[in-house]
Subunit: 347 residues, 4 copies
Amino acid sequence: MKEGRLYFASDYMEGAHPNIIDRLCETNYIHTGGYGLDEITDSAIRRIREACGCPEAEVKLLVGGTQTNAIVIRSLLRSYQGVIAADSGHIAIHEAGAIELGGHKVICLPNKSGKISAAQVEECIRAYEQDDNREHIVMPGMVYISQPTEYGTLYSLAELIALSRVCRSHDIPLYMDGARLAYALASEENDIDLPDYAKLCDVFYIGGTKCGALFGEAVVLPDPARIPHFFSIIKQNGGLLAKGRILGIQFDELFKDELYLRIGKKAVRYAVRITEALREKGYPVFMDSPTNQIFIIVEDDKLEHLREKVEYSYIEKYDDTHTVIRFCTSWATRKEDVDDLIGLFEG
Amino acid sequence: MKEGRLYFASDYMEGAHPNIIDRLCETNYIHTGGYGLDEITDSAIRRIREACGCPEAEVKLLVGGTQTNAIVIRSLLRSYQGVIAADSGHIAIHEAGAIELGGHKVICLPNKSGKISAAQVEECIRAYEQDDNREHIVMPGMVYISQPTEYGTLYSLAELIALSRVCRSHDIPLYMDGARLAYALASEENDIDLPDYAKLCDVFYIGGTKCGALFGEAVVLPDPARIPHFFSIIKQNGGLLAKGRILGIQFDELFKDELYLRIGKKAVRYAVRITEALREKGYPVFMDSPTNQIFIIVEDDKLEHLREKVEYSYIEKYDDTHTVIRFCTSWATRKEDVDDLIGLFEG
Amino acid sequence: MKEGRLYFASDYMEGAHPNIIDRLCETNYIHTGGYGLDEITDSAIRRIREACGCPEAEVKLLVGGTQTNAIVIRSLLRSYQGVIAADSGHIAIHEAGAIELGGHKVICLPNKSGKISAAQVEECIRAYEQDDNREHIVMPGMVYISQPTEYGTLYSLAELIALSRVCRSHDIPLYMDGARLAYALASEENDIDLPDYAKLCDVFYIGGTKCGALFGEAVVLPDPARIPHFFSIIKQNGGLLAKGRILGIQFDELFKDELYLRIGKKAVRYAVRITEALREKGYPVFMDSPTNQIFIIVEDDKLEHLREKVEYSYIEKYDDTHTVIRFCTSWATRKEDVDDLIGLFEG
Amino acid sequence: MKEGRLYFASDYMEGAHPNIIDRLCETNYIHTGGYGLDEITDSAIRRIREACGCPEAEVKLLVGGTQTNAIVIRSLLRSYQGVIAADSGHIAIHEAGAIELGGHKVICLPNKSGKISAAQVEECIRAYEQDDNREHIVMPGMVYISQPTEYGTLYSLAELIALSRVCRSHDIPLYMDGARLAYALASEENDIDLPDYAKLCDVFYIGGTKCGALFGEAVVLPDPARIPHFFSIIKQNGGLLAKGRILGIQFDELFKDELYLRIGKKAVRYAVRITEALREKGYPVFMDSPTNQIFIIVEDDKLEHLREKVEYSYIEKYDDTHTVIRFCTSWATRKEDVDDLIGLFEG
């Protein structure tokens, strides 16, 4: 970390929202039960259930996103089934084969702005069902989506309803990866609330790591009988934290006084501001992302200059002379940094 | 947590040593790279290498003990191999089948005070090698020990040298689970230092969760080429923390100014005090444990009274009228609580 | 194979019963569907269903015993469950870790003459259920027995009823490995018929490889819904034969005119004759085995002489001067060989 | 099977070449060791080694193709690696997820006439190596090809040399699935002999099931140290046949007096004849296949008529009014059936 340098590479480059740090300090000497069997975790779970409008839901707090995806997916699938996902999905690319390690194929569908549609899912399942050789083929056994997607885009409520309907008509679960859910909930374009997810998804997780926590992802199972012996499964997969309350503390804070939403709102506001300013200055946006990620097309000539001043993520080559890069905002982004970032770009 | 109640159930019932909490606060707004690729983690690794006297070692910081055991063991074994362990070993009993989930048998040898001997290991490997049907049998592919053991007992340097020799003569790795290693290092009976482990074990981990950290275990591979692509393996197994620096912070603190050793010393001093006091009062010790766990035999009549005043761990029935229970001390144990605990037992 | 040498090492040292060979010849040029979807396999399945008295049963013909055990067990267990077995069970020792490769622990109970009792199983499940840490422990999820056992002994009907009752009271399946089932059915001591197995077991297999076939094991699931998508599971595990009719042919013959039973009867009759003759001559029987395996204790001095004349299986050292060896009879055993074998032993 | 009906659906619809059946009959009463440790299997292995020009090769006889692919691939890959294959490859589509069950991703490249090129493989590996996030991505760890491909097409020697060169330059094994290898060796277009495969591939298998055997695939490892403990791995995966000699008998016959080649030649000759006749009659060939599979485009109107007379394989819809179907020839195809099949198509 250098004085004067700007940091927009991702949303997990700092510690945690100060409320979480304060609570860690306050509770440090309290004795509690281990493995998430403590009052603080109970309180966090209550808050999450309430926010999701499903007081009966099973809620489990896990440590990280890949871990959560791997555990949930191998819990829901039978050995002969695979999981349908966008070819840009995190599980399809950036989890080092965690899903396959668990024994399952990721059945990739071509993404459109990071999303897959109900029609694509329907077609994929139909093709399987109508194939005479289907017993020699991996059976589509669940659907995985991310909200926001890996490109920062959003499913609309109508799209989610359609996906949910297809899944239920074929009796397979719909699972949503909400690693950056705070930014979806906070987006102006968003028309889906937590209770909608609880109604339309069979399992989803509310991301903590990228939304202001030190780490942590809250898995919500609206039907608490969906994954029997989930505790043992988490343990067996190395996902159980001895001092589970550390997760409880974080989610209890995130869901107190709508902190989760407030974190999202601030980051999205800054992201919108950056996007608009760059657009005005003539920098084309690669993907119209209404959340906390900004995908922008930059001339290669300007990259070196940028690299000296700001940390960003390289995404891909756009053409022979341009590159797509990404900026992320987060709970830790400061107004002056946003201004400085915008200032780096000439009109 | 109730006023006046005593808490000795385990060593992971509070937060973290205050130095760790302070450092978390101090560093909260610093930007760093993710996934353990940051300066704080670098510093922690340097300190651990130095403490172990092996500047070339690969050191990886993982989140929890079961996770660490599962990942290390599946990385070292080939599919047709199993891991030799004491039948009281953590991997044999209390990890919900994590080793088998990874595809491997735990080959159990009868423990003696929680330990297995070089002679037992030699005999086990010999039996395999001399069996005409050995190609139909799981091959012993590594040895797992815990230091201290699950009963709080210690391997001596001579015992560890003997185990290491057997393993090397058969060209299989020796792996040590040091979930509570601070308490081994701090014990009066201990004659093994960190550099000895680095010389005699092929892989071992230095436990953080039970030794003053919020969570975290530091895997040390004295030969850095022992597990190629270890980073990807950790990622694939859901063990990679996005904000890896949180682990770095904790181990950097634990290995600054010998904090790890000091935490161990205090806990062991209190444990010895409790053991001696109870012994004096006529309570027989179940297992002669020189570390931070105290296994004591109590008349069943007295259990209810105890349960009201103190949290302890139930271990097993001793006979029809007695029960073995366990007290643990830790960095968080206070002198007055030790006195109060001793006071609960009548002379 | 040498002129004048005797072969009693095992029951899979020759080809197949001549009826099977004849049928292979006869049907060689017939065109049929693949993967067991053919009329011959249909006929075999009908015969097996009829013999088992359950016309609705799902019957699948697999290639070998380890394959069958591995596939059935991983199909029935959830990831956090293990399979209870005798410590002498084939899956516990001689399958090179196939069950663990599938992700599951073999929970071993001490055998008594190769058997485990309902009381042991009950105790094992109770211990799990009453353990406060059970969520950290592998859950007993099914029971595996062999009939006859690896020592050639037999469960009685009463014993099987008791085992079945325990399993059903805990809602876990009872699975029987019938690799040598023909010899159980044919034994004078036997009081269990195929329909009893179909009533009392949840899954079992009727062994072909060791009972007169070239290879093949017939899995019977009295409740056809017990393992959904079993065909795909078999395919996925590499157990599906393209020319599935080869299995159909073999079982169609084995279950025509009670051939299976007749093969068993002949082999058992010879085994009994050998046992009685050797007993008369003063050779102590190691295990009272009423099927086609003869376990006998021989002075080490005599082993070399025997080895020159006859192939047998080494089982284990009995004491410093004696060894336990095994003879097996089969469909291929000839009367003159039995006489010659007996003649090798002095009175 | 109906009188007058034609059977061209696949090459595994009958028993085995009569030489194999004869040998099964002749050897039926011979006693041999189990698990492939017998003189007949030894002889088969010697013949295969000789045919491949590598007297040191490890040769293992397995039962089926999916089994062989699954076992070889999981033996060669490390957990964090995947296998590169054509998107039309058998392992990518028709093995019910057997590769993923073993823990590995199939990294699909777009096929061209069923084939992938050295350039595609090079590009795939480069992309991995140059990706900054490669440690979060599945590493390409081997290359899988089929010869002939699933579309009956052939790699040329030049193409195979190029693939081998790329693999060796990146130190990853090249594995060839030769399920129908007899038909490749017999094709007029073929310029690769068995010794070439042994030089250019790191592992390959010579298919029996689809080339005249009842079942069986012979895995050849030119470097016998390539897969240590391969016997145990095969056992563990349920691929070990107790009466292993049944495999030995089949391959001993197939490699006696070039039977394997002769079987291929006859089938290919008939296939060429069918192709040429249909082409002359104006039926467009879908894929130019020089082996024993014929892919032909037929008007949907004519399908019903065909279906009554001949069994074929449905491949895919070509357009709104046409369908691609497949005929296969084999050792069992008779000249008169070929004539009759041709006669079904009007000029």
